[in-house]
Amino acid sequence: MTDLTRSTAAQLAARIADGTVSAVEVTQAHLARIDAVDEKVHAFLHVDREGALAQAGAVDEKRARGEKLGPLAGVPLALKDIFTTEGVPTTVGSRILDGWVPPYDATVTRRLKEAGIVILGKTNMDEFAMGSSTENSAFGPTGNPWDLTRIPGGSGGGSAASLASYQAPLAIGTDTGGSIRQPAAVTGTVGVKPTYGGVSRYGMVAFSSSLDQGGPCARTILDAALLHEVIAGHDPLDSTSIDAPVPPVVEAARNGSVAGLRVGVLREFRGEGYQAGVLQRFEESVDLLRELGAEVVELSCPSFDSALAAYYLIAPSECSSNLARFDAMRYGLRMGDDGTRSAEEVTSLTREAGFGPEVKRRIMLGTYALSSGYYDAYYGSAQKARTLVTRDFERAFAQVDVVVAPTTPTTAFPIGERADDPMAMYRADLCTIPVNLAGNTALSLPCGLAPEDGLPVGLQIIAPALADDRLYRVGAAVEAAFEARWGHPILEEAPAL
């Protein structure tokens, strides 16, 4: 392995800017790494070799002309296959979009390109981002680089696995109920769910519009912050995009500190369903925060007990509506159009052939929850539970600056273990969902390996809406303290592929 693929994004950008390495060399090194290991990992659905080398070449030319480069210019990135990319296939992990080549770029895609970031390809994901294991991809599962027989989390398992296997130093994910944070936790990487509305959803295929949020994935807090700054900010093409300045995330990541910080620990995130080793690493993280000068306050958010149930009504309801657009008429798959069938029959046959089991389950669940007679009892009640979750967070943040929690109840489970047990799969999102319901912001970073299985555990840091910089300030301090204790980043303990 060359050291280029082991470098952080910040290091690569600095070397490209000072000319000690070219962007093309950096891209070639990562493409070679993909060739060497992705047959085993299956992080990518599509590698855009020519496009990546062309983007890298453009950065090198720009530098040769003496033009100023952006802070991540020339650094390669793995893009979740939920963002449209002009001229490059976008499948959302679904047969229904197999072969579709979008005619336009998502805002996130456009901002990455404008920043000179090199898009290596599109990463695997649970179909339409519905899942917690990447097993729901129509194109086969992704392996966790720590143990290829285990899940890399989901839905953004491909993005997280690409980072953990050194195929890319940066990635983009989307987080509707934990799809950035949970994969980060189980792969020993960093993932951030920005404040709802902080990153444009234009060109990001919709799953649950009031919850979906794109965000950065990386191996270090600083790299995540640098990427956050590139993709965040108001976008007139997304009416739910926040028209406010991007919080100073990079400055925060460069100045990690928790001195004088009030940190909340929730009673709700422990007990039944939590792995002992996960709770042990979490308690050690809380001790570390105390040692670093934070004041730890025990809190309770009783409504979180109904957050999972509320989420699995709200998200399916919104998805059943959003996915109605896949009707086989304007783009994507069309089945059974033999001249004898009606448009409606063709639509039904296409959706049957094009959607996988989890997507069908959620569409039917949402259709049920929204149907007359059940609307108040299910969708209406879930919306009220959402209010209670938001209020509990408001009460918590009146007392503390950030809340910390385990990111996931367990470490990575074996591929196949929960594949046909939807409720067991849904519980993987237990600790991440409340943040999406309230629309605030959270980050996951590695806090050690569980003693019983040697697999990574994630520490989740949660902040109020628009206080994304707080996550990075705390995350940078915790990361530095842990790495000083371990003597190296946790990923160096992952077995060689």
């Binding site: 579709w100 008429m329 959706r351 049920y368 919306q383």
Partner: protein
């Protein structure tokens, strides 16, 4: 709250335009019954005095200037069409034969 029957699942599938097989109906009916049983608990906390939240941001009627901007060309818009004719999306019949 009542559970969900196989007949109800078949009805939902029709509403959602999913041409499910018999095996799928059998499989999904049990799973959806389990899921609905587990999520029905939200009704316990949803008391009269709690207002619903539909969205995390208090936004209404976000407008942009009504200006002509470049958009997709017909060729781009039709680039993913399963079938097309005369610069239009070609679709199966939508009305029954007379």
């Amino acid at each position: 709250m009542p559970g969900i029957t196989r007949e109800e699942v078949a009805h939902l599938a029709r509403l959602a335009r999913l041409e499910l097989t018999d095996e799928e109906l059998d499989h999904f009916a049990g799973q959806l019954d389990d899921i609905i049983g587990a999520v029905a608990r939200v009704a316990d906390v949803a008391t009269e005095d709690v207002p619903p939240t539909s969205h995390p941001l208090p936004l209404t009627n976000v407008m942009r200037p009504d200006e002509v901007r470049p958009g997709l060309t017909a060729r781009q818009a039709l680039s993913g069409a399963p079938a097309q004719e005369q610069q239009r999306f070609k679709v199966p019949q939508i009305l029954g034969e007379e």
